[in-house]
Symmetry: C2
Subunit: 209 residues, 2 copies
């Protein structure tokens, strides 16, 4: 009797993992350029210098391919184990958004815009949230802020869950609607005039007329 009909194919030529990477990268490129629907499997294959058979051997469907490409992109993002630690929350936040290569960030945000169109069409995708690039950024913000709280740097009652969403949501708005990335000037204003005040203890100092 055959051990297993689905034996992992020990014989024959092996799959080239480099092809996986090339196809996923080409997918992200096109996602950023033309969106989910503008992306055709033929174009992906063409750009990756791959045959469509090679693609469909790995991903049974265009949707699977794009989802995996997004996961791939996400994995290259922020490493929650290696967050900046400058001693102050302000320094940490600036450092977190600092090092990103501008062109690379732009590509990622545009790809994210491409994903938005997929959510409308692929049923049951909105519920998982797996596709969001912004979620790890929010998580990173939370970690930095919680650390600042244990240092006593911010209010013990600060709404960290909310504050951690401010910068990422602004980034999302600009990326998806305005099609522009956050620049350093805006980042400074956000940190100093919005995020830090929101976390501080200070009573809202409305003019007491």
């Amino acid at each position: 009797m055959p051990e297993n009909d689905l034996s992992p194919a020990t014989r024959g030529r092996k799959r080239d993992p480099e092809r996986d990477a090339a196809i996923l990268e080409a997918t992200i490129d096109l996602l950023a350029e033309v969106g989910y629907d503008g992306l055709s499997t033929a174009k992906v294959a063409d750009r990756a210098q791959a045959g469509k058979g090679t693609m469909y051997r790995r991903w049974p469907t265009k949707t699977d391919l794009v989802l995996d490409a997004v996961a791939h992109m996400k994995a290259q993002q922020i490493d929650l184990e290696a967050l900046p630690d400058t001693g102050s929350l302000r320094g940490d936040l600036l450092a977190l958004f600092q090092p990103q290569d501008s062109a690379q960030v732009d590509r990622i945000l545009r790809a994210m815009a491409g994903v938005v169109s997929m959510i409308s069409q692929v049923h049951g995708l909105a519920e998982t949230g797996d596709y969001s690039i912004f979620e790890p950024w929010i998580a990173a913000n939370s970690v930095l802020m919680e650390r600042a709280r244990t240092r006593g740097e911010i209010s013990s009652t600060a709404d960290v869950a909310l504050a951690a969403q401010i910068i990422p949501s602004m980034a999302a708005y600009r990326a998806l609607i305005l099609r522009v990335a956050i620049d350093r000037d805006l980042l400074l204003r956000l940190v100093d005039q919005v995020v830090l005040p929101a976390l501080s203890d200070g009573p809202v100092n409305l003019a007491s007329s």
Copy 2:
């Protein structure tokens, strides 16, 4: 000589303006449900109980139709001439986002998500910004905040341009990515813990250890 080859057709049956509205409404519905690419002209005609001829007599192309539908939706939005005036900025902000029927807001935000996919594919659209539903909300925020400033209610040096973007950008993030609208609890937290502190004079009261 003919007065004008394109004379507005004084003879014959007149166009039914109700058809315009029905078609635009159907377009927005579908835009919210399936996105720009999931939207087919046949589906729009079907839902509006209209013939495709009736549609193409008005809009030469699917893109024109969708853009006009978005403009139509935008026109039904915030009236900058009739902003709330409760006496306090806090009251004004809460009133601004208050009256919206939740289901209606949800529909609008989902439609906006559908528009995002169009931006990737229709050339030269991202530059105009005409499509953004959020921009009038930002403008309304700015007006309310400037009024508060002239009342001396907030700091004279407050960064209104930035603060006015906070709530709308959060709404955009939630609508486009999370697919959820802003509820009253979140609105309260945003106003009291983020927006108002950002506009206040108070020095950032970081714990002086």
